[in-house]
């Protein structure tokens, strides 16, 4: 019953987020600030993880090919498919649920605990629009992060394959180009937009409606990470059935 109530409260919150907009000049500044905090400050970890996980995917693939009947280009092909279809959009989003999600929950939760949200409301400001809407807009740039993750994942695979001596550069590149279906990219970016919306709103919900003190802010951040990850995984399943099956 509690979960149904929370789902209802979440959708009611979304309704409030898009009502009574904040003044344009202030909103513009908030969006730039959120782009910096949520997108630009996340690039370092995305670059690091993408490069090395891409490398590991290609090494694992190469090491598991025993049969001489399987061509070397399979390493590039498998790396591309893994990175574009799942690793970049889904795996990175789970990592971002930890990084961005806990940041959003703890920052909004701290504002709740220290009455800063009450201060906004008393001034006649729609605090949900002020706090959550700029995050949703900023995370429209999230597919850009996923694009970087795709590129670096495949690049990491190429570096690991070629410099690890598992296959030639030509075979890897031929594998990347082999049987490429452009719709897979569309599917990955559609997923990224959905995950971006989840990343912006679920942690905001957990932070905005938390009660208690500093300890509860920590608990809310953990809960936000768990729920954001669960919802991303479920959404991934539904989108995959709808778009690929």
């Amino acid at each position: 019953m509690k979960h149904f109530r929370e789902i209802g409260a979440y959708f009611l919150m979304l309704g409030q987020v898009f009502r009574r907009p904040t003044k344009g000049s202030v909103l513009r500044e908030l969006i730039f600030k959120e782009v910096e905090e949520l997108i630009l400050n996340s690039l370092g970890i995305v670059v690091f993880i993408s490069f090395f996980v891409g490398g590991v995917v290609s090494i694992q693939t190469a090491l598991n090919i025993d049969s001489p009947l399987i061509p070397d280009l399979l390493v590039g092909f498998a790396t591309r498919q893994s990175v574009i279809l799942e690793f970049a959009p889904t795996f990175i989003s789970i990592v971002m649920a930890g990084k961005i999600g806990s940041f959003i929950t703890s920052s909004i939760g701290s504002m709740r605990v220290t009455e800063q949200i009450d201060a906004l409301e008393v001034m006649g400001i729609n605090s949900l629009n002020y706090l959550v809407f700029p995050k949703i807009i900023a995370l429209l740039f999230y597919p850009f992060v996923i694009g970087i993750a795709m590129f670096l994942g495949i690049f990491g695979g190429w570096v690991a394959t070629v410099y690890g001596g598992f296959s030639s550069s030509a075979a890897f590149i031929e594998g990347i180009q082999s049987k490429f279906i452009p719709f897979h990219l569309v599917y990955a970016f559609i997923k990224s937009f959905v995950f971006a919306f989840i990343l912006a709103t679920v942690p905001s919900f957990k932070g905005y409606y938390m009660t208690g003190g500093a300890l509860e802010v920590g608990k809310a951040s953990t809960t936000a990470f768990v729920w954001t990850s669960v919802i991303i995984i479920l959404a991934n399943y539904v989108i995959t059935i709808l778009l690929l099956s």
Binding site: M111, E115, A119, M123
Partner: protein
């Protein structure tokens, strides 16, 4: 002026406010006092519109709060300044940005005009050299003064303060009290202060409402509170050892 008639508020089965009726006068410091759990904070939040009452009426200058639509409420809230217990300053903003915030949100002033206004109110609260500091870099007393500056920067008609002295040393608390009283008279505002500090009661209690178990148990001012007939009020007043000793000395004389 704010008029409250038969206000009732309950959470679940528990009644927090029971049939509260009182007037808060313009140009005066109106104090809501009472022990912990007497309903002071809930009363203040009802007055601010943060809680919806379950019964009764609240009038802001003869306009019924519950009859106001969203636009009217928004306009009313722009006429309200609030000083929160902990200051509630935005910690990602400097002192200057905090005070400028209401102006940026609700006026079309240029940056220079806003800066001029901000400097004026900051000097009014005797805070001239902290513009570029963040709230975490200034003392508790300074934070309270910034919160007061933010509350009055938009020339509000109503000023609400929730325990403005909590966590402050007695000397700083007195400075804040006097500042609030001076500002109230200067701007002719209706000021409502939620407190359980007897020093504040003595210093700025021009109109006092004493709450007990969610009811108005007594009303008066700082000169009449020591002769109140209600035992609950006297218990509250003389819960301070200092006041108890003064009373004993006076009795001995």
């Amino acid at each position: 002026m704010i008029r409250v008639k038969h206000l009732h508020k309950q959470f679940g089965e528990t009644s927090i406010l029971k049939d509260i009726s009182t007037d808060f006068q313009q140009g005066k410091t109106n104090l809501i006092i009472g022990g912990s759990g007497s309903g002071k904070t809930v009363f203040l939040k009802c007055l601010l519109g943060l809680y919806s009452p379950d019964g009764g009426q609240i009038y802001y200058a003869d306009r019924l709060l519950s009859d106001m639509d969203n636009n009217a409420r928004k306009q009313l809230r722009q006429k309200i300044g609030m000083v929160f217990q902990g200051g509630a300053l935005f910690d990602s903003m400097t002192v200057e940005e905090n005070v400028m915030f209401p102006l940026r949100m609700f006026t079309d002033m240029s940056h220079q005009e806003m800066l001029h206004q901000v400097n004026e109110v900051l000097s009014r609260v005797n805070l001239n050299e902290a513009n570029k500091k963040f709230p975490s870099e200034i003392s508790g007393g300074m934070q309270k003064r910034v919160a007061i500056a933010r509350a009055i920067v938009n020339n509000p008609r109503y000023l609400f303060c929730d325990e403005p002295n909590s966590g402050l040393d007695p000397k700083t608390a007195m400075v804040i009290d006097n500042l609030i009283m001076e500002i109230t008279q200067e701007y002719n505002m209706t000021t409502i202060i939620n407190t359980h500090d007897m020093n504040s009661v003595m210093e700025i209690g021009q109109n006092i409402v004493f709450l007990e178990h969610g009811c108005v148990a007594w009303e008066g001012d700082s000169t009449t509170i020591f002769n109140a007939e209600k035992q609950e009020v006297l218990d509250f007043v003389y819960s301070s050892n200092l006041f108890k000793k003064i009373r004993d000395i006076q009795r001995q004389k």
